[in-house]
């Protein structure tokens, strides 16, 4: 089998238990505890250049898993390998995009993108050129000097994606990046993302709550179980690329929709019974 050579990211038996702060408790399965296991035995191999979407009920640990893959959080057990090397801290080859954009409000659009290169020690002239190029790629030429609060949500998220791409990442982690946007902007950005992904061949892990979005973007949809999170099922999406919006109306798309929802439904129901957990955290 030549799989091992093809795999860019290998997640092996990842588990994560949070130890709450002294004095904090939650009720899990009827018992008060200060330890919460949010991930338990996550296994996942992701091929080079693959577009993976991750769906699962709220609280199933999708964001935590992304943080672990991004090297921002240490797993309690198991490990994640990127190109065969164990991840212990943020890797320069990985870009991260957040739902709330996370742009630096005191930096202009251009300077926000430059930041990613600045902390990597790229020379001024080169980083400005790269940042300009990326802004143009996202249709934001002319908005270089705008501060984030002078840009619409869609524009801000474009800048955030451009910033994550500035360092030429081989892996792009996206945590519900379009969830805060209106439907039209959302679909527009999905299309743009696919277009750019097609050019740069980055491996993408994209978390979403939208089944439509998950299917439209993905090579494979990974469905997570309710807490403690694990991979419940992986669904291959055999829709032709390049894809455009019309594909959503196709019979195949509908079949996938039913299929994903079928897998997800039980977990969402389970998660709802687990609601007592959530108020203890502010997230």
């Amino acid at each position: 089998m030549d799989r091992p050579n093809m795999d860019r990211i290998v997640v092996s038996d990842i588990s994560k238990t949070f130890q709450l702060k002294p004095g904090q408790f939650v009720t899990v399965d009827g018992e008060a505890t200060d330890r919460v296991t949010v991930l338990d035995g996550v296994d996942l191999s992701i091929r080079k250049g693959e577009f993976i979407t991750l769906v699962g009920p709220s609280g199933s640990g999708k964001s935590v898993l992304l943080d672990i893959i991004g090297g921002l959080t240490q797993a309690t057990g198991g490990n994640v390998q990127l190109d065969g090397r164990r991840i212990t801290r943020p890797d320069p080859k990985t870009g991260y995009v957040f739902q709330q954009y996370a742009l630096f409000p005191w930096r202009t659009a251009l300077a926000n993108i430059e930041y990613a290169l600045e902390v990597r020690g790229v020379a001024k002239a080169e980083r400005t050129a790269t940042a300009r190029h990326l802004l143009a790629l996202f249709g934001l030429a002319g908005f270089e000097d705008r501060f984030p609060n002078q840009l619409s949500g869609g524009m801000q998220q474009r800048v955030a994606i451009a910033r994550a791409l500035a360092s030429n990442p081989e892996v792009l982690l996206m945590d519900e990046p379009f969830a805060a946007l209106d439907q039209q902007t959302r679909e527009l950005l999905q299309g743009e993302l696919l277009r750019i992904w097609g050019k740069i061949n980055t491996t993408v892990i994209f978390v979403t709550h939208s089944i439509d979005e998950a299917i439209f973007l993905a090579d494979r949809v990974v469905v997570m179980t309710a807490r403690p999170g694990a991979v419940k099922e992986i669904i291959d999406i055999d829709l032709p690329r390049p894809r455009d919006g019309d594909i959503r109306a196709s019979a195949e798309f509908n079949a996938y929709r039913a299929r994903v929802w079928d897998v997800l439904r039980d977990e969402v129901n389970k998660a709802q019974k687990d609601w007592t957990l959530s108020p203890a955290f502010s997230h």
Binding site: P90, A116, S167
Partner: protein, 298 residues
């Protein structure tokens, strides 16, 4: 009087400095904010005009009340006499010298405050152990009047410049420190996460994320600190100095040169207003990225 001047000052600040602030804001922030700025400029212009008659009346009373014998001319010379005395002090260069000395003392103390408080505040705000250990000491010092400590400063540092700088430093450092800490603590954790995801080093995190994110809070603290060190230097000069505006005012009173005394007080007011306007302008400039029109002058 203070109330009236303050009111006048507030309106005047917006009026006088809207122009400068706007140029900067527009240069850095195209199109979008221009209309809002124009509106606030117009509004403040109106407030300024509204405030003029009452202030004029106040100055008029100051002029005629002593002239008509309603007030004792010795204690309350008419405004015109004060202005003449003021001009004489100015022309002789005495006033400029006193102003220079006072401002220098305040500025050195404030600058030291910035140098000490910002790095310390960054650490205290970021590392809870740092704050836990030092918080009690900071609270204790902060709640001790700087004037009560003046004798201590004089004992330790002598009657010269050092004790004046010490008191202005002491008067400004805690405003800066407390606001830096609260600025650091309120940095959006998501921004830190984003920065870390891009491989930001600890040092860069302070320099490029935590510090700029805390700037609005630090600048607000700096405004209080500048005022506080200005007040402190005047107080200290009244109590123990041979130069400076505080000394001029105090000494003129002792010599019964009341016109000079009022000239000194007026000078202080003008300096206070000017510094306040400059700080408002600076705050606007430093936080232009927030894109909100700043109207509070307190």
């Amino acid at each position: 009087m203070a109330y009236l001047t303050e009111k006048f000052g507030s309106a005047g600040a917006l009026h006088l400095f809207a122009g400068a602030g706007e140029t900067v804001a527009v240069a850095r922030v195209p199109a979008i904010k221009a209309s809002a700025k124009n509106r606030s400029k117009k509004a403040s212009h109106g407030t300024f005009l509204y405030g003029l008659p009452l202030l004029g009346l106040f100055f008029l009373l100051w002029e005629i009340a002593p002239q008509l014998g309603w007030l004792n001319r010795i204690f309350f010379p008419p405004l015109s006499e004060v202005l003449v005395a003021w001009w004489a002090l100015l022309a002789s260069g005495v006033l400029i010298e006193h102003i220079g000395i006072s401002l220098q003392r305040a500025a050195i103390g404030f600058a030291l405050g910035v140098v000490v408080a910002i790095p310390l505040g960054l650490l205290m705000g970021r590392y809870w152990l740092f704050e836990k250990v030092s918080d009690l000491l900071v609270q204790t010092l902060r709640n001790t009047s700087q004037f009560a400590l003046l004798p201590v400063f004089i004992l330790l540092l002598g009657i010269g410049e050092e004790s004046k700088v010490a008191i202005t430093f002491y008067s400004s450092v805690f405003f800066l420190l407390v606001n830096t800490i609260s600025g650091v603590k309120s940095v959006d954790p998501l921004l830190i996460k984003a920065a870390r995801s891009m491989g930001t080093s600890d040092f860069d995190l302070f320099r490029k994320v935590i510090l700029p994110a805390s700037i609005p809070s630090i600048v607000a603290g700096a405004r209080l600190a500048v005022k506080s060190s200005l007040f402190a230097v005047i107080g200290a000069e009244m109590l123990a100095a041979k130069s400076g505006l505080g000394f001029l005012i105090q000494n003129s009173q002792l010599m019964m040169e009341t016109a000079d005394m009022y000239a000194g007080i007026l000078t202080l007011t003008v300096i206070g207003l000017t510094v306040n306007y400059l700080l408002v302008w600076f705050k606007r400039w430093a936080t232009a990225w927030k894109g909100q029109s700043e109207t509070s002058l307190i």
